[in-house]
């Protein structure tokens, strides 16, 4: 399950650089003294913002829930929220600040939440290994998109067995907690469901492109073969003045 945004310039230079990677890497000094790149989301009320910067500040915070409607009973589809980020991101690039104990509240002591966030970073999730900077929703958001229309992985829907489709045909309802404003910049939100194979999701572009290029190549090959037969031997007995 993906969420998609369009007309959202996550690749804008000002936006892309507005983060502090050493803060996100758990560096304690950066935690309390974030990089200047984060301006104007560096400090709030004289307290350093954790995580600082415009990217973190604008984190997507709608929640999506999917229900299967079966004879008027709504059964929620299990959405797995872990395993949606790269291993390297989760384990290398993003780390919570270090200190005594595992109490994130204490570790983030002295920092304040990003301006737009309703709650601080250490309250993103209840599980310890998905909280703070290593919250996977956060990590996914922080991996900025290449294009203004993008989709990001939101949740995984696991296939239970190979005989049945993961989502059987039927009625479903999507429940959205609408927090994220996109009207101001003419944006659009989407929810996408896609089946993943060894090749990834459905992507018609490559297929079409390959078929097109392949047929052009074939056609050109034939033409060149004809040309070769017609002209190829003509010049072998060159009479070059020497």
């Amino acid at each position: 399950m993906y969420y998609g945004l369009s007309n959202f310039y996550q690749n804008h230079r000002r936006y892309v650089k507005s983060r502090d990677d050493s803060q996100l890497n758990g560096d304690n000094s950066s935690l309390l003294n974030p990089s200047k790149e984060c301006e104007p989301y560096r400090t709030n009320e004289d307290k350093p913002i954790a995580p600082c910067g415009a990217i973190a500040n604008s984190m997507f915070n709608d929640t999506l829930e999917l229900y299967r409607i079966d004879n008027d009973t709504r059964t929620p589809i299990t959405l797995i929220k872990k395993g949606i980020a790269w291993w390297t991101d989760k384990n290398v690039k993003f780390r919570n600040p270090t200190g005594d104990g595992n109490n994130l509240t204490a570790l983030f002591q002295g920092t304040t939440k990003p301006v737009n966030w309703p709650k601080p970073v250490y309250m993103l999730d209840s599980e310890l290994d998905n909280n703070g900077f290593i919250n996977e929703d956060f990590i996914v958001w922080m991996r900025t998109a290449a294009l203004p229309t993008f989709r990001k992985l939101y949740r995984l829907i696991e296939r239970k067995n190979n005989l049945q489709p993961t989502l059987q045909a039927g009625k479903y309802s999507l429940e959205i907690t609408y927090n994220y404003p996109v009207y101001s910049f003419d944006g659009r939100k989407r929810m996408i469901l896609s089946t993943i194979s060894w090749m990834g999701g459905k992507n018609p572009f490559l297929g079409i492109a390959y078929i097109t290029v392949g047929s052009i190549c074939f056609f050109l090959g034939v033409v060149l073969l004809i040309i070769h037969h017609k002209y190829g031997n003509r010049n072998t007995s060159a009479d070059i003045p020497n």
Binding site: N7, Y9, N25, A54, A146, R151
Partner: protein
């Protein structure tokens, strides 16, 4: 405005002061070099960029993206400069620094004259001094200079010289080598000075143990330096083209940045202002943001102006120069001289030569005259078996002659004509003899004469010595002395010389030798052998000389002698009077035979010239020699053939009228004896005064006319005029010129031409010192131009085309990307990739192509000189090719951006993970780019070696190696904020669809190129394509040729005969005056006496008026 120089010191020996001109020392090297480098526009531009990047508002790239390449570039250049400096220091050293005007200096045998010097006295009788002027005018014969009688008399002792306090009034420094006017005031007398008393700088003292002189002009005022022109910094055509292209790109850069800045302004107004997530607390208006972004884009797109271009070009040129230096086929083993590229910046220009200006003496010819053949009494001698001269104790070991029959004839003494023939050769000349260590050495006024006397000597008629009026020869071992009654000397109008001798039996006989045309007019009417002799050597490129004699009765001689005496004391028009008298006695001659002398060409000169002219290179010979000699050489080196019409420049009016005719008929050639005949010259100077405009017209006419000829030979030109001719062609034809020469008289021309080539290995080094390339033999010119020049040109063009292509393909992706990121100057690649792309990922293969590529092998390049034409026509690199490269680069960048773009629109990863993030996109685009550009250079490479393959695949491997390393977890732990792409490469390149995207990108980029290559190869193959295609056939042919050794020789072209003595008169006056009778004077030490260590002051003052 007389200026008295300091009291001169007496110098015991001349100091050859070697001026050290080391520019750098270890401490100042770095700052000085950096300063020098930043004076170059390109480096300065990058310095400015670096400063721009330090401004936070507009800094779009990390500081290291520019700094790393810049440091690399500066480093490489610095190393190259250092090497250049060290290398060039070995050469710049010969300067006679300490000699000042007014110094009295002593010159010893075989030393160069260091300044223009007034000869005071010498070790020889009458203070004669022999000099060789080969460095000045290319003539190797000896000339003599004679001091004033008064200085000869009084200035022999060192003490006398120290007291010398004359005043010399002379002309201002000028460049006329043959003129000097001045006056010496000494002891209340004034003495006229002329060129005969002046030793010019660059001459060599010969046969004179020592001589003394007072310096008149020193340093830059000397005549040879006045002739040598200014040293100009030479640049190649491609260099200036390249500069313009860089300016063009710079302009494009500014325009694009401005366009994108406007785009940004617009975008900010439409979208950016309403995007709350982009809020940055700065209250900038959209236009101001656009303005900031303009600079941001200047920084992002800076790679369009290729920083490493200049340094790469320099490295390539340096490498090519080394290839020239290392070329064993241009190594002249006899003199142990290898070819040397003394300038490393002109190589590709060697592939674009239109005109070659060649010196004659020492360049085309070896300057050795050999006695080849003779014809006595209608019988020709001179076949092909080497002779053994061991029977003759006087024989010169180096002499070679091929005819046994002649020897037998001489030994048998049957034929009086043969005896007379060789007697004449031994007697009729003005050669001086010099016996040292029992060896006889001849000093001849012209090399021809020397050759003839040496020939006579080898055939048993040995000239032993002469006095004022006798001449002693050994006739087959018997010494005989003849009384010389008169010597009728050579001059260029008479074209002959005679001696009148009284033989032992009392008969008076006149012996005469001279040019065939002159002699035939004066033969006795009953002379029957005439026709036979006339045709003898007509078909060979030899200089002929007719020999004849005449018996004179005592009465006739007495009568004539009276007239002769009268004429020789005449005060006015003495020369003309003498000529008239000579004319009277040189008549009714009886022909003995003819000699043939070969002015030996250097090996392979005709072949080289014909090869070069097949390559559409026009060859002009500029020589100081006279018309006949020049024409002769023209024939012998096949520049002129019998079918060619020769037009002489003397009759310029006629030439003008025939101009249309010349255009019509193809095979017309001109022997352009340019402006140099005396009247012609005057005319020109007059005209010059009259109107500048007319002069220009005249010059243009001259060039136009001369360029329509197939070959041009200019004779009697001074060094300055040589340079002027080159300058004219440069100016009016806009063609690339090359000047080749060996002597100091060619220095000016060598400096003026686009490329100067010096023939080294001859005695003087002046030409080599000012040349750009030097080697030992003229024939290496064809290899230098047709192989090295052509290759260099092709390589450089390929390099430049590819370089612009690769930078455009790289940089323009940013622009396409900016349409999707709000024109925010966000880069499409990782910063580290931008940093290393130009220096690591794409530079090595193209450098190797620039160094090693060759379309056809050297043998084939030499065999098909037509291949050279493409360089002359600028076919491989011009604005069209440049824009095509840019277009190619732009299209490649479009493909590299839009195929991943399409793939990223709705893509999902294998695990469903975040599939379309910016970092993965950057890695995809970068990887495709690296593949495409490296495979593209693979397609461009026509000469694959292991190194090429290694570099192409190595570059790709290095890219992946470094990328994976920079994206690894380890380096992120060390530097979390410098390396932000942690995990991107491993994660992204795990995805099969990304590989499929890359494969598609590469295929779409390269397949059209392959198809286009194929089409042009099959349908419109270039000559080199065709030759390359058939190379195996040609190789087989060559093998065949080698096996079947050349069975036939090329027919010798026929020519008119002409005899050339030297320019100047012989030594007849000298011999007659009795001044040359060689009595050895006391050795030098005795002259010096005890005052050896004493330094004395000479009270000499020289004033330049």
């Amino acid at each position: 405005d007389q200026h008295f120089h300091e009291q001169p010191q007496f110098k015991r020996t001349i100091l050859l002061c070697f001026k050290k001109s080391k520019y750098y020392n270890p401490i100042t090297f770095l700052p000085l070099n950096l300063f020098e480098q930043f004076k170059r526009a390109a480096n300065f531009y990058f310095l400015v960029l670096l400063i721009l990047q330090a401004i936070p508002q507009i800094s779009t790239l990390s500081w290291y993206t520019t700094l790393v390449p810049l440091l690399l570039v500066l480093g490489i250049t610095a190393v190259k400069d250092l090497v250049d400096d060290i290398v060039s220091n070995m050469f710049k050293n010969t300067k006679w620094k300490d000699i000042k005007v007014g110094d009295i200096i002593r010159l010893k045998k075989n030393t160069f004259v260091p300044a223009d010097i007034l000869l005071l006295s010498s070790s020889e009788p009458n203070s004669l001094c022999y000099v060789e002027t080969a460095e000045l005018d290319g003539e190797t014969n000896l000339k003599f200079k004679m001091a004033l009688e008064v200085t000869d008399k009084y200035l022999q002792e060192e003490s006398a010289m120290a007291d010398f306090n004359g005043l010399i009034e002379c002309e201002e420094p000028n460049n006329r080598l043959d003129k000097f006017t001045g006056t010496l005031f000494w002891r209340n007398m004034s003495y006229a000075l002329d060129a005969d008393k002046i030793l010019l700088r660059g001459c060599k003292v010969r046969n004179t143990d020592f001589c003394h002189g007072v310096v008149i002009f020193a340093g830059a005022d000397t005549k040879i330096m006045k002739n040598s022109g200014k040293t100009k910094f030479k640049r190649t055509k491609i260099d200036s083209l390249m500069n313009y292209m860089v300016y063009t790109i710079f302009l494009v850069l500014i325009l694009l940045s401005a366009g994108l800045a406007i785009g940004h302004t617009y975008w900010e107004q439409q979208i950016g202002n309403s995007s709350w997530y982009l809020y940055d607390a700065e209250d900038y208006s959209p236009p101001y943001r656009g303005f900031l972004n303009f600079w941001g884009y200047i920084i992002v797109l800076n790679t369009m102006v290729p920083i490493s271009l200049y340094v790469s070009v320099e490295v390539i040129r340096l490498g090519q120069s080394y290839f020239i230096n290392w070329d064993l086929q241009m190594y002249y083993s006899e003199k142990d001289t290898a070819a040397k590229a003394r300038t490393t910046t002109l190589n590709e220009q060697l592939g674009q030569i239109h005109y070659i200006f060649s010196d004659k003496t020492g360049t085309l010819t070896q300057n050795i005259m050999t006695f080849k053949k003779c014809c006595i009494n209608g019988q020709r001698y001179g076949k092909s078996v080497p002779l053994d001269f061991s029977w003759n104790m006087y024989a010169d070991g180096k002499f070679l002659f091929y005819d046994h029959y002649l020897i037998e004839q001489i030994k048998s003494r049957k034929d009086p004509e043969i005896q007379k023939f060789f007697l004449l050769l031994a007697i009729c000349h003005t050669v001086m003899v010099d016996v040292s260590d029992g060896q006889i050495n001849y000093q001849a006024a012209s090399p021809d004469e020397g050759a003839l006397v040496t020939a006579a000597r080898n055939f048993g008629y040995v000239f032993l010595s002469r006095t004022q009026n006798t001449i002693t020869i050994s006739e087959m071992g018997i010494e005989k002395t003849y009384d010389v009654l008169a010597i009728l000397d050579f001059n260029s109008d008479r074209k002959r010389m005679s001696v009148i001798v009284r033989e032992s039996n009392g008969n008076i006989r006149l012996y005469c030798k001279g040019a065939d045309t002159v002699i035939y007019e004066r033969l006795h009417p009953r002379n029957v052998k005439r026709e036979a002799t006339e045709e003898v050597f007509a078909n060979e490129t030899l200089r002929t000389l007719c020999l004849c004699y005449r018996d004179i009765s005592d009465d006739e001689f007495e009568a004539w002698n009276k007239k002769f005496m009268e004429a020789s004391v005449a005060t006015t028009n003495r020369d003309e009077a003498l000529d008239k008298v000579y004319e009277e006695i040189e008549k009714n001659l009886i022909l003995l035979g003819a000699t043939a002398i070969e002015d030996k060409l250097q090996d392979g000169v005709p072949e080289t010239i014909s090869k070069l002219s097949k390559a559409d290179i026009k060859i002009w010979v500029l020589t100081g020699d006279k018309k006949e000699t020049a024409e002769n050489i023209g024939f012998s080196c096949e520049l002129l053939t019998d079918e060619t019409t020769i037009c002489y420049g003397e009759d310029i009016r006629q030439v003008k009228s025939t101009k249309n005719f010349c255009v019509g008929v193809k095979n017309v050639q001109f022997l352009k004896l340019s402006q140099q005949t005396a009247e012609e010259k005057q005319k020109q100077t007059e005209k010059r005064r009259k109107a500048e405009a007319y002069k220009e017209q005249q010059q243009k006419n001259f060039v136009d006319l001369a360029c329509e000829c197939k070959a041009v030979i200019c004779c009697r030109v001074t060094p300055k005029q040589k340079a002027m001719v080159v300058e004219l062609v440069k100016k009016y034809k806009k063609a690339i010129t090359l000047a080749i020469g060996d002597g100091a008289n060619d220095v000016n021309m060598i400096k003026t031409a686009h490329i100067g080539v010096g023939i080294s290995g001859q005695e003087g080094m002046q030409a080599v010192m000012s040349s750009d390339y030097s080697f030992g033999q003229f024939r290496y010119l064809q290899r230098l131009l047709l192989v090295h020049g052509r290759w260099s040109y092709i390589r450089m063009c390929k390099f430049l085309r590819y370089f612009f292509y690769k930078n455009f393909a790289f940089t323009l992706v940013h622009i396409w990307y900016s349409f999707f990121n709000g024109f925010s100057a966000q880069t499409a690649y990782e910063d580290w990739f931008i940093t290393l792309y130009n220096v690591l990922y794409s530079s090595l293969p193209v450098l190797l192509v620039g160094l090693f590529d060759q379309d056809v092998s050297d043998k084939l390049s030499l065999r098909f000189p037509r291949l050279y034409v493409l360089g002359q026509k600028d076919l491989l690199f011009n604005y069209r090719k440049f824009f095509l490269s840019l277009l190619h680069g732009a299209i490649t960048s479009l493909i590299i951006f839009f195929i991943p773009y399409g793939a990223y629109l709705q893509t999902m990863g294998q695990d469903g993970e975040a599939p379309s993030d910016y970092q993965s996109f950057a890695v995809t685009a970068a990887s495709s780019l690296v593949f495409v550009v490296n495979l593209q250079i693979g397609l461009d490479t026509s000469y694959w070696t292991f190194v090429n393959a290694f570099s192409v695949f190595g570059s790709i491997a290095i890219y992946f190696g470094i990328t994976f390393d920079f994206h690894s977890a380890g380096i992120h732990v060390l530097f979390p904020s410098a390396f932000q792409f942690t995990g991107t490469a491993p994660n992204a390149l795990r995805q099969p669809y990304l590989w499929l995207t890359m494969v598609l990108t590469i295929a779409v980029c390269l397949l059209p190129v392959v198809a286009q290559r194929f089409l042009s190869m099959t349908i419109w193959p270039s000559e080199s394509d065709r030759i390359q295609k058939n190379r195996k056939k040609y190789m087989a042919e060559e093998e065949q040729w080698k096996r079947r050794q050349s069975a036939f020789r090329r027919g010798l072209s026929s020519r008119r005969s002409a005899y050339a003595f030297s320019h100047q008169r012989g030594y007849a006056d000298l011999i007659a005056s009795g001044r040359s009778i060689r009595k050895k004077r006391a050795p030098l030490d005795a002259v010096l006496g005890n005052a050896v260590t004493e330094v004395r002051e000479a009270h000499t003052a020289v004033a330049n008026r």
